[in-house]
Amino acid sequence: MGVVNGYLDAATAAPLHPVARQALQAALDGGWADPGRLYPVARQARQLLDAAREALAEALGTRPDELHFTAGGTEAARLAIDGVRAVRPGVVVHSAVEHSAVIKSAGDAAQVVGVDRTGRVDEDAFAAAVRTTGTAVAALQSANHEVGTVQPVAAVAAACRDAGVPLYVDAAQSVAWGPVPAGWSLLSASARKWGGPAGVGVLAVRKGVRWEDPRPAAPPVNIPLVVAAAAALRAVVAEAAAESARLRALVDRVRAAVAATVPDVEVVGDPDERLPHIATFSCLYVDGEALLHGLAREGFAVSSGSACTSDTLRPSHVLAAMGVLTHGNVRVSLHRETSSADVDRFLAVLPSVVAQVRAEAGVVGL
């Protein structure tokens, strides 16, 4: 079994798309010069960058001159929120299940809107919150990164428009699967989530949105990485219809099989309104770290929202906001190289790995 077969953590970083690898190699050869210069090799670099910018803009449903490049998704989230608040101070309304980058950027200015048991934000409460005087910006992810639940972006965008509040959408987990519903003012994504290289984030800021780049000076763009990111995004968007149908079927199989074959398990996230590639579940009485190690011994790389697997030893704020079991948590996220056989093998070993962790902890039959 190759390394990639057991790699089921695409929501953290998808394996590099083969098209991105080719584009990266070509752009290393042709895109190394400073695009601001006027000689031929610089113009060549400039053309590569412009073409990549156009491809990214098209895939993201925005205009090339509305795109800003960052060092990754986390920086893009910070730029989105800080850039609005630089010209429009005030409260940041966001859901309780945003990525930690959004929550950290909002900081003390946050007004948090709760979610239901599936992780879907309460859109009425969100609309009421943005009507509160003094909201600078509202932030809602397109879909949740830990449990896959799709958020009501269109409804929330309408509420934000009515209230005159810009909506920032963290689309990191969803851009590979299709366009975000219209109505957003700012949108961010991260190339390594769609099969591009790490170190490329994008922030789109719609024309007319009051926003100021909070960076003293935007750093130089790494043209080869941006070219590779654009090639990967164009490729995955072209494959999205077929791939999302294929992965959705695999994820449905994971959700059904885990519920049927692992005792005392809670499969979480919305069963239907969800991303095609993420399945998440929590196993009662199981130490999340022991479970990750047990799966790693079988050759599987997955992630967990359990406290014992986090740097801070606090449970996932997403699972906590949903009110679902936080211990014994596993997130499986699939990608274009995940085969049906890989999923079968995972489902074949999972019940015995969980049973072994429970036996070692002496909790069988509780």
């Binding site: 005392d264 809670e266 009662l284 009485y285 199981v286 130490d287 359990s306 406290a307 014992c308 030893l313 606090r314 449970p315 699972l319 906590a320 009110g323 679902v324 079991l325 936080t326 211990h327 014994g328 902890a361 909790v363 509780l366």
Partner: protein
């Protein structure tokens, strides 16, 4: 009332201790768990929901450690 001191115990140990204790009390009786692990605040209510028991009250001990009262229903 049965009381379990789970101070200093990390998840999932407080929930395991609770699951061991509840069958030993009568239906309708309450078990108190004192647990300062932040995951317990989520996992004890989730366990009650999954097992059909009732979280009747929560509070804080003098030392700041949270407690959870769980009534056996089945």
């Amino acid at each position: 009332m049965t009381s379990l001191d789970c101070r200093g115990k990390r998840c999932p140990l407080p929930v395991i201790a609770l699951a061991r204790a509840v069958p030993s009390v009568q239906v309708g009786d309450v078990v108190r768990v004192v647990a300062d692990d932040p995951a317990a605040a989520v996992d004890i209510p989730a366990w009650c929901r999954m097992r059909g028991h009732e979280l009747t009250a929560t509070g804080t001990e003098d030392d700041g450690a949270p407690w959870y009262d769980v009534r056996r229903l089945t």
